[in-house]
C-alpha cells in the first residue's frame, strides 16, 4: 500500500469517527427515561425559595422579640427563604420585578425584614414588602387571624398614615400597616427608595 493511500484512509477514518461523535448528541436522553432523569436533576438542584414573605403568625411571633439574638435565632430556621444581608437587614431570596414611581422595572428582593440594631434605638421590627399583591396576601392572612381595622394615625416611623388593626385572638398586639416611600430611616436599600413599600409592624401593649 502506498503512503498516499494510507493518508487517505487515515483522513476518512478520522472523519467517520468525528462525525459519529457529536458531544451534544451524546448528552441526549431517551424519551422513556425522561421522568427518571428529571427527578434526578430536580433532586440535585439547589433548593429554591418557596415564598416571599413571612406568614402573619410567624411575624406576630417574631415581633415578640426584644433583642437582636432572638430575631437571629428565629430567622435562622428560615434561611431557605431569607438571607441575612447585614446587621439589622434580612432580604427575601425570592426576587423579581418591582415597579418604581417612574414605571421603571427593577429586579430586587420582594420583601425585607428590618430591625433596630442601634443600642439607643427604640426597638422596632418591620416587614417591608415591595409588591402590592404580596402585601394584600399578608394583610388577608392577618385578617384571618381576626385583625380588624381599629383606627388610623399619622405614623412617625413611616412618615405617612398607618392603619392600626387589633385582634381579640391576640390581645395586646397592634398591627401597623402603611404604604410609604420611607419605610425605614434612610437605611440599606431604603436610602433612596422610589418604589412603594408596604410596611407591617406588630407592636405589643
Amino acid at each position: 500500500m502506498r503512503r498516499a493511500d494510507v493518508f487517505k484512509i487515515v483522513i476518512a477514518f478520522m472523519v467517520i469517527l468525528s462525525s459519529c461523535g457529536s458531544k451534544s448528541n451524546k448528552r441526549a436522553v431517551k424519551a422513556e427515561d425522561l421522568d427518571k432523569i428529571m427527578e434526578e436533576e430536580n433532586a440535585n438542584a439547589p433548593t429554591v425559595p418557596v415564598r416571599s414573605t413571612l406568614s402573619a403568625s410567624e411575624f406576630i411571633q417574631l415581633s415578640e422579640c426584644g433583642d437582636i439574638s432572638c430575631v437571629q435565632l428565629f430567622m435562622k430556621e428560615k434561611t431557605k427563604d431569607f438571607f441575612y444581608a447585614r446587621k439589622g437587614e434580612y432580604y427575601s431570596n425570592n426576587r423579581g420585578i418591582v415597579v418604581d414611581s417612574a414605571d421603571a422595572e427593577k429586579i430586587m428582593a420582594f420583601s425585607t425584614l428590618y430591625f433596630a440594631s442601634e443600642p439607643s434605638a427604640t426597638w422596632r421590627i418591620a416587614h417591608i414588602i415591595h409588591k402590592k399583591e404580596l402585601a394584600d396576601t399578608l394583610l388577608d392572612d392577618f385578617n384571618k387571624k381576626g385583625f380588624m381595622l381599629a383606627d388610623s394615625i399619622r405614623y412617625y416611623a413611616t412618615q405617612t398614615i398607618a392603619y392600626r388593626y387589633t385582634s381579640e385572638l391576640f390581645p395586646g398586639a397592634v398591627l401597623y400597616y402603611s404604604s410609604t416611600y420611607k419605610p425605614w430611616y434612610g437605611k440599606g436599600i431604603y436610602l433612596v427608595s422610589n418604589w412603594k413599600c408596604y410596611v407591617f409592624e406588630v407592636q405589643w401593649r
Binding site: 483522513i11 476518512a12 478520522m14 472523519v15 467517520i16 468525528s18 462525525s19 459519529c20 457529536s22 458531544k23 451534544s24 448528541n25 448528552r27 441526549a28 436522553v29 431517551k30 424519551a31 425522561l34 421522568d35 432523569i37 428529571m38 436533576e41 425570592n94 426576587r95 423579581g96 420585578i97 422595572e105 429586579i107
Partner: protein
Amino acid sequence: MKIVYLILLVVIVGIFLFLRQCVDRKVENLEDKEVVREGEELLGTWGTKTAASYLQFRLKRNGSLDYMLVKFPEKDTTQIKGTYTIADGANTSYFPRLVLLNEKSDTIFNYYIRSVTSYGSTARYDNLVISPNSIYDTIEYKFYRIKQ
C-alpha cells in the same frame, strides 16, 4: 519552508471539516436526525414532561419543525408540522426568542431562550431553558435533548 507547512495544515483542517460536514449530512439523511456541532446546539429534538403532558419538538436544520403534545392520562396526541425562527432581541438586554409556527404561520409558542447547553459542556444532559418573559429569576421551562 515553514509557511508551506502552515498552509498545508490549514488545507488539511479545511478538508477535514468539509469531509466531516459531508459525512454529517449523509448521516442525518440516512438516520433522520440532526448531528449537532458547535454553534448549532439548538437543533435537534427537545422534550419535557409534567404530570399532565409530554411535550416534544424537533428543530430541523432546514428550518422545519415537528411538534408533538401528548396529554395524559388518555395519551391524546396532537402533532403539528411547521417552521421555527430564532428572533434576536432588539438589544442585548433581551434574550433571543424561539418562535414556533404551524403550517398556517400561527404561533404555537414564542418564548425567550434563556440558555442552551453549549457543545463543549461537561453537563450530563443537554438542556434548553425557555421562558415567557426575559426577566431573570422568574418562570422558566426546561427541555431535555431527546435521543433521536
